[in-house]
């Protein structure tokens, strides 16, 4: 299995990617840990984590179709 991870706003710039696929990942804690190794600037950045269009506060398990998004602070309007 693999999950899709979307980066928005300044995070897309930091990672150089709009969307990546991450294989064999059980939950969001594991995913974030791996992303922080891959994109070191991520650990100095504020963002919120969304799984399947819902903001999450705690570690969340990821099923096969999971779509994860990392959202920097909003600045619309």
């Amino acid at each position: 299995m693999e999950v899709k991870v979307f980066f928005f706003g300044g995070l897309a710039e930091i990672t150089g990617e709009g969307c990546i696929r991450v294989p064999e990942v059980r939950d969001t804690d594991e995913l974030i840990a791996r992303l922080q190794v891959q994109y070191q600037a991520l650990s100095q950045t504020r963002y919120r984590v969304v799984v399947n269009n819902r903001m999450i506060q705690e570690n969340t398990s990821l099923d096969q179709q999971a779509e994860v998004a990392l959202l920097p602070p909003f600045s619309g309007g």
């Binding site: 979307f6 928005f8 706003g9 300044g10 710039e13 969304v50 269009n53 998004a69 959202l71 920097p72 602070p73 909003f74 600045s75 619309g76 309007g77």
Partner: protein
């Protein structure tokens, strides 16, 4: 009637005066309305340490934004006696002086219209996943922060 306009949140580029006039014109037949409250967010030529903002390029997590907007809409209609509500936000590039956010709330009476408009603007800015990339006059850019200046409650 009140709950329509679910998926027309985003517009490409600036929201024009002509578009706003067209929306207003469509309300002439709604003769139970006594008050419209409108908020327009306009792209400001901020000075960022000697560099000037020329335009803002907006992107969004659109699917989530539409869901969040629907949630805001429902809560605002529960709370205020509104006849209707229209919200539009730009995507893509908006030059300084261009309008990037439009909120219209209409009601028989002004108190409901004005309070609903104000609360909708606050919620749109806080809850919709939208990001503004400020394009500067030296061809560099900076990601817009909702509360850039210290002690500033609002950035319009």
């Amino acid at each position: 009637m009140a709950k329509k306009n679910r998926n027309d949140l985003f517009m490409p580029g600036a929201i024009t005066p002509g578009f706003i006039a067209e929306i207003l014109h469509q309300h002439r037949g709604r003769t139970e309305i006594g008050a419209h409250s409108i908020f327009l967010g306009q792209t400001r030529a901020d000075d960022l340490g000697g560099k000037k903002v020329c335009a803002i390029e907006f992107t969004s997590y659109e699917a989530m934004a539409l869901e969040a907007m629907q949630e805001i809409r429902e809560k605002i209609f529960e709370k205020y006696a509104l006849t209707c509500m229209h919200v539009h936000h730009s995507l893509g590039k908006v030059e300084v002086g261009g309008v990037c956010l439009f909120v219209l709330t209409s009601s028989p009476h002004r108190k409901a219209a004005m309070e609903a408009c104000s609360e909708t603007v606050e919620r749109v800015k806080a809850e919709l996943p939208i990001w503004g990339k400020e394009l500067l006059d030296d061809d560099s850019h900076q990601w817009k922060a909702a509360n850039r200046s210290a002690g500033m409650q609002d950035q319009a």
